[in-house]
């Protein structure tokens, strides 16, 4: 056993738990969100240590990146709603009767009252203790690695995780795409989108950065997508990277979002699931089972599904950042 590695594990875990604790204990929401993003990046490090580079990539891009962007824009939205309500604009609803602290409360959560301390602590300790006990009694099971390994030659791809995601357990992945879509449908059903409470920073720095960053992000995204068939990477990581590029573009000109046409937009967000489902139904009709491929066609079909899924995920993530439905969708 390598003593240094154990030390690394212990320090990393202590850091992760510590950051999570500070995040949940902070009264300032902005601080909590920044700590949460740090938490995500530390987790990515832990996933590398657990020999899961795919997950590390996904955690950094989705868990820390996209979630972080969503959290930060939410805080800005809450702040601007509070400001608007307090300034008593004619169109805003009447101010909150609960008092003058409404503005503070949006971005500040007072420390919880003491009487919940002991019950909550006891409950968490009991749950955590029982979990640890159960985990320490578990055998050193090998899991499904040998089974996957034995079937890699018929999966159509060379990377085991892509084989599991898009072939052996393709149904789960299809539903995962569906869940991203349902989240967007849910956000859209709440109403039209509001202005993003951000101003483009004046000066040449932002446009210049964007001119550099966005092409790099696109190239990276395409590379990560392409790499997925034989190395860490794949549709979700690539979709998150492209989605991040889209979010940057939205942030650069938050007041002049292009009027998105409803029809093509709907097609774009549902292209991933639609194509996946068509391939799946074809598999059923052709006798390979629902969501099954003929062995010779597995590779091209998987790549096709991944390309469509990447585009849909990227588009959906940007739309989730903008939050409400575009006016074009009602036309």
């Amino acid at each position: 056993m390598n003593g240094l590695l154990v030390l690394f594990d212990l320090v990393l875990l202590a850091g992760i738990v510590g950051v999570a604790w500070r995040c949940l204990a902070s009264t300032d929401l902005f601080r909590a969100v920044v700590l949460f993003i740090t938490f995500g990046l530390l987790l990515a490090l832990a996933w590398v240590r657990l020999e899961a580079p795919d997950i590390a990539l996904a955690e950094a891009a989705i868990g820390a990146g996209i979630t972080g962007a969503l959290l930060l824009v939410t805080l800005e939205r809450l702040r601007s709603i509070m400001a608007e309500r307090r300034s008593g604009r004619p169109h805003s609803p009447p101010p909150d009767p609960t008092g003058p602290h409404a503005l503070l409360r949006a971005l500040h959560d007072p420390l919880p009252e003491h009487r919940t301390f002991l019950p909550a602590l006891t409950f968490a300790l009991v749950v955590g203790g029982l979990l640890v006990t159960a985990l320490w009694h578990q055998p050193q099971s090998v899991g499904l690695e040998p089974v996957v390994d034995a079937h890699m030659d018929v999966s159509g791809v060379d990377h085991p995780i892509t084989a599991v995601l898009l072939n052996f357990r393709a149904y789960d992945t299809f539903l995962e795409l569906a869940i991203v879509l349902i989240a967007l449908l849910g956000a859209w059903s709440l109403g039209r989108h509001d202005l993003i409470p951000a101003r483009p920073a004046p000066g040449p720095i932002l446009p210049g950065t964007l001119r550099l960053l966005v092409p790099v992000a696109v190239v990276t995204g395409v590379y990560v997508l392409w790499a997925g068939s034989h190395a860490p990477g794949g549709a979700f990581q690539a979709g998150a990277i492209l989605g991040a590029a889209g979010i940057l573009l939205v942030l650069a000109r938050p007041r002049q979002l292009p009027m998105a046409p409803g029809g093509p937009l709907r097609l774009g967000i549902s292209a991933g699931v639609a194509l996946f489902l068509l391939v799946g139904l074809y598999g059923l009709a052709a006798g390979h089972g629902f969501l099954g491929y003929a062995e010779a066609w597995a590779y091209p079909l998987i790549i096709l599904i991944e390309v469509a899924a990447t585009l849909s995920i990227a588009l959906t993530l940007v739309a989730l950042f903008v939050a409400g439905r575009p006016a074009g969708d009602d036309a």
Partner: protein, 494 residues
């Protein structure tokens, strides 16, 4: 043309999943036609489910091998995912189809705004597809994913009216659902860590009463109890179900809650069967008595029609918990429990739909001011009454048969020498009386003298669908034997 035989079943099962998904995807991609796609889809899915169940029953499967398992993509477990059809899933698929079709027809009249229609139908069709997939799933992790499909679309539908009450109900509902899902997922992870497989049948063959199974059972059951609003984890239910649009409330109280309960039952009949002990049964039974009493009292106190109905769901689900200790004495009781759930779902959905029509006509659903509309709309009163009678369990209704069978099981426990059995019998009988009280509270204003005012006009769908569904609920008693025989075709369950 001869009817398809048992060899068609695997394709039929995968086809049902494919069809429900195709309808949802199509409505998402083409929202302008979503209501037409939805109506055609509802008819097609219902027809498919009925054919599937007919083939399943007609194939005359041998009870030992009755489950049809489909390897998706041709990959057998443990590598791949398996769909799983047996008597229990067939029963719930048919229930979902009946309530789903009624809700779809009702929604044609209820959601008439052009823009709202586009938002409503895709979400509702995803919810329906999610339920179908939940009842067909045979894989622990896939169950988590289907639960998420169901809960995210259900939350979105709760928030649909966009009022403060609905949105705050939806937020609460969403947080509870995420917590429930995570708890469930942690249980799945524990089982995977111990046994290295996710397929329920393979898991069942490997489980024994060890620390992993105990902790997984606690986590998964607690998570699902949260989602099913089983007492004492029910506080989120009334605001969410009570403030959602009427067809959504019907689906939530009738089907979504039933879906989580189905999963609890499925797990305890299979993977966790070695863990059930009498002490545990009594604990669950006591929770059930608590639910019956608390839910009924809240239903008697609530001021809004839809709140009454929502609280009655908490109360009625108490029966399912009370049945738990009975199942330990006579394992066959689980079939009665499922039959009870089916009848409850039908009756509860029709009550919610009738309440929606009344609310539409009167412009509110405050019980105190609802007399005028109730007096002018005898059809709605009849639907409320008919479904209510089934909830109470008066003779000749589905509810009667279900409660009679439950009582019989309870008396069996008493005769077997269990003292606490007396409490279960009292709870089952007393729960019916309390139900009678709150059902009468709902229809009572129509028997008082006073002005009759039909209020706003309602569409034909909204006028007739509640009555139709209430009739189905009342007649479900006739299908009692059929249901129990279908449920007997569940391998592994007693």
């Amino acid at each position: 043309m001869s009817p398809p035989g048992a060899e068609w079943l695997p394709a039929g099962i995968a086809g049902l999943v494919g069809l429900s998904l195709a309808v949802a995807v199509l409505a998402t991609a083409w929202p302008r036609q979503a209501h037409r796609i939805g109506l055609l889809g509802a008819l097609a899915v219902t027809a498919w489910v009925l054919v599937l169940s007919a083939v399943f029953l007609n194939a005359g499967p041998d009870p030992e091998t009755a489950a049809t398992r489909v390897a998706l993509g041709g990959w057998e477990a443990p590598l791949g995912l398996m769909l799983h059809l047996d008597g229990l899933s067939v029963t719930l698929l048919v229930l979902t189809a009946v309530v789903g079709l009624a809700t779809s027809l009702y929604s044609l009249g209820y959601v008439h705004d052009r823009i709202e229609r586009r938002q409503f139908w895709p979400l509702w069709l995803w919810l329906w597809a999610g339920l179908n997939m939940l009842f067909l799933s045979g894989d622990a992790f896939n169950l988590y994913i289907t639960l998420e499909v169901v809960s995210l679309s259900a939350v979105a539908l709760v928030a649909f009216t966009g009022t403060a009450a609905a949105v705050s109900g939806a937020v609460r509902y969403l947080l509870v659902n995420i917590l429930g899902s995570l708890s469930f997922l942690m249980g799945v992870v524990l089982l995977f860590g111990e046994h290295g497989v996710l397929d329920l049948v393979l898991l069942e063959a490997r489980t024994e009463a060890g620390p992993t199974e105990r902790m997984a059972a606690v986590l998964m059951t607690a998570g699902l109890m949260l989602k099913a609003a089983l007492f004492p984890l029910h506080v989120w239910l009334a605001p969410a179900h009570g403030s959602a649009p009427a067809p959504v409330s019907a689906v939530l109280s009738g089907l979504v809650v039933t879906g989580s309960f189905y999963l609890i039952l499925r797990l305890w009949l299979g993977v966790f069967a070695p863990l059930a002990t009498p002490a545990f049964g009594i604990l669950v039974g006591l929770l059930g008595v608590g639910a019956l009493v608390w839910g009924s009292l809240q239903a008697l106190r609530a001021g809004r029609l839809k709140s009454i109905v929502a609280y009655s769901t908490v109360a009625q689900f108490g029966y399912l918990l009370v049945a738990f200790p009975l199942m330990l004495v006579d394992p066959g009781t689980w079939r009665v429990v499922v039959f009870f759930t089916v009848v409850h779902a039908l009756a509860k959905a029709s009550v919610f739909l009738a309440a929606g029509t009344l609310q539409h006509a009167a412009g509110h659903d405050r019980l105190a001011d609802l007399g005028d509309v109730l007096r002018a709309r005898p059809r709605m009163v009849f639907a409320l009454g008919l479904a209510g009678v089934s909830l109470m369990g008066l003779p000749f209704t589905g509810g009667f048969i279900a409660k009679y069978l439950l009582l019989e099981a309870g008396l069996g426990t008493v005769l077997a020498g269990s003292v606490i059995g007396v409490l279960w019998v009292l709870a089952i009988a007393g729960g019916g009386l309390l139900a009678a009280a709150y059902v009468l509270r709902m229809v009572a204003p129509s028997f008082q003298r006073g002005r009759a005012d039909a209020g706003e006009t309602v569409s034909l769908w909204m006028d007739w669908v509640p009555l139709g569904l209430a009739t189905v609920a009342a007649l479900a008693g006739l299908a009692g034997t059929l249901t129990l025989n279908t449920l007997a075709l569940t391998p592994g369950a007693p």
